[in-house]
């Protein structure tokens, strides 16, 4: 048995991809990406700017980052250096987030995401999703984003989304976003409880980048609703290091949500 959980593994993976100096918003109801952002900040991002609960700040000197369960919990404003006026947050990519996390009730092989619903007819959905929230616009502008899923399921990872709320790489091709004039860098990785996908450079189709320790390529293929590109050698996702686990457990996730 490894001495870390899958949630801690994913948090560490995300943290390593965030850079010092970046502004990253901690989203609502996403404990694992939250932990990844805060780990990056405390581990190697002393000049990062953290967006949370409609504020921007640095949390470097805070011994323990208590969690706030809800997006607009005003108690988080005790840390605020500035407020986010929500109607202005979409006026400039500088106010959105340098990196962002997008979920989906469906995500397709080209990284397009659907938060509207499942069904062929919009007025008669079999399953109504929560709605696009801010993902359509932020995914248009942000330098890069991560597709993030809490479960790895063939009904979620599908060949084609029934609807698209975040345009990833469309129907594929490295110029798919450029053709539409979308300024942002598009989805970089899709992270699930089983594996990490990246996007093959030419086709921009999902490619298995790593499987989490204990997971096989066959496990992933059996639970994915499309056929990803599988390289001849698929490495394991790198486990969290001792110093990363120490920060996660002592400062970021003291209450233990990532351990349960």
């Amino acid at each position: 048995m490894p001495d870390y959980t899958t949630a801690e593994l994913i948090a560490a993976f995300l943290a390593r991809d965030l850079h010092d100096g970046e502004f990253v918003v901690v989203g609502a109801n996403l404990p694992v990406p939250r932990a990844g952002v805060l780990l990056a900040h405390l581990h190697h991002g002393p000049n990062m700017w953290i967006g949370l609960s409609a504020t921007q700040t640095s949390l470097l000197k805070e011994p323990v980052l208590e969690p706030f369960k809800f997006n607009r919990d005003f108690r988080a404003a005790k840390w605020a250096e500035s407020y986010m006026l929500h109607e202005e947050a979409f006026d400039s990519p500088k106010l959105m987030s340098d990196a962002f996390f997008v979920g989906g009730i469906q995500i397709d092989q080209y990284g397009n995401s659907n938060l509207i619903g499942v069904g062929k007819e919009y007025r008669r959905l079999a399953f109504r999703g929560p709605g696009a929230i801010g993902t359509t616009t932020v995914s248009t502008y942000t330098k890069r984003y991560y597709l993030y899923l809490n479960s790895h399921d063939p009904r979620v990872l599908v060949e084609r989304c029934d609807f698209i709320t975040s345009f990833g790489w469309g129907k594929g091709g490295a110029d798919a976003r450029q053709k539409l004039g979308l300024p942002g860098g598009g989805p970089k990785y899709c992270v699930t409880p089983l594996c990490v996908f990246d996007f093959e450079e030419r086709e921009k189709r999902m490619r298995l980048k790593s499987v989490h320790p204990g997971v096989t390529v066959e496990d992933v293929l059996a639970k994915t609703g499309f056929t990803p590109i599988v390289p001849t050698r698929v490495p394991e996702t790198e486990p969290p290091a001792a110093d990363e686990l120490a920060i996660l457990r002592r400062r970021v996730n003291v209450e233990g949500v990532l351990r349960s």
Partner: protein, 298 residues
């Protein structure tokens, strides 16, 4: 002609009476925070129908409640729910799946673009956000067009023009100077886009109090101020109290039963909290002061 500056203070019954059948209202706040609930409850009590309800950029269950109570004909918002308590509002989900309400599908960026177009009295404003997505397919009035200068595709986002903006804030004076604790969410954009603005506040303060910190005045010249202590309950009011999770779960249990065909608990909820209390004060009494006072936690 008197030389007195007129008070704009109304009670929630007078304020809600301005909301008529078929109007378009926009509700402030953000998910579990800052909704003008005494006016929302009074709209339900007075039986207003066929509203176009524009929720906050991310709405909480106040929009779900208006759907469940039969007040909404059309709903426009990028999200209706209560995060971990309910990823999606039960009535919103059911009404959307059954085609019982009309929807206009958008994300938060497109939403504010539409409100800015209304404020500027423009028919539309262009957007890059939404290109390549299904939004133009599901909203026939959201149109892809060619930028007349560079010839590139853009999305034309039509104006969303609310008749009345309903906002909850920390304090206001009697003349319509409004101050928030915290950011004020997206409420400034609502005020700019709407023909009229009604604001419920935790406290009505003196004009001198407002003048201590004019930089904090986020909205001025609002049309009506409603004195409503605990007026965002069961949602948070920044600096005053947290959301009431037990009450929200009581609502959710009733709403979930209603969409499965058992409307009894929801009818009881409406009776207890909306139809029976004659005023906001009586609503607070129905909730109970031990509960209300337990919400003040930092």
């Amino acid at each position: 002609m008197t030389a007195e500056r007129a008070s704009r203070v109304l009670d929630e019954i007078q304020a809600a009476a301005q909301v008529k059948d078929g109007m378009c209202v926009i509700i402030g706040g953000h998910i579990l925070s800052s909704h003008p609930m005494p006016v929302i409850r009074q709209i339900i009590k007075q039986g207003t129908k066929d509203l176009t309800v524009i929720g906050a950029a991310s709405a909480g269950l106040e929009v779900d409640l208006l759907i469940g109570a039969g007040c909404a004909k059309k709903v426009i918002t990028p999200y209706v729910g209560a995060e971990a308590l309910a990823p999606i509002g039960p009535f919103f989900k059911a009404a959307a799946e059954r085609g019982e309400i009309a929807l206009w599908e958008c994300d938060e960026g497109i939403y504010y673009t539409a409100l800015r177009a209304a404020a500027l009295q423009l028919p539309f404003l262009p957007s890059l956000g939404g290109l390549g997505t299904s939004l133009p397919d599901v909203n026939p009035d959201l149109k892809v067009f060619r930028d007349p200068i560079a010839g590139k595709p853009l999305l034309a986002v039509p104006a969303l023009r609310p008749d009345i903006s309903l906002i909850h804030a920390a304090v206001a004076d009697a003349y319509g100077n409004v101050q928030f604790v915290g950011s004020g969410m997206g409420d400034r954009a609502h005020h700019r886009a709407a023909a009229r603005t009604i604001v419920t506040v935790e406290r009505v303060v003196s004009n001198e109090e407002i003048r201590k910190d004019p930089l904090a005045t986020a909205l001025w010249n609002v049309d009506a101020v409603v004195r409503a202590p605990y007026g965002s309950h069961p949602y948070q009011s920044p600096g005053f109290y947290l959301h009431d999770e037990a009450h929200l779960n009581e609502y959710l249990t009733a709403a979930r039963a209603a969409v499965k065909g058992d409307r009894g608990p929801f009818t009881a909820y409406l009776d207890r909290y909306i139809f029976r209390p004659a005023t906001h004060a009586e609503y607070l009494q129905a909730v109970g002061f031990p509960r209300i006072l337990s919400l003040y936690e930092f």
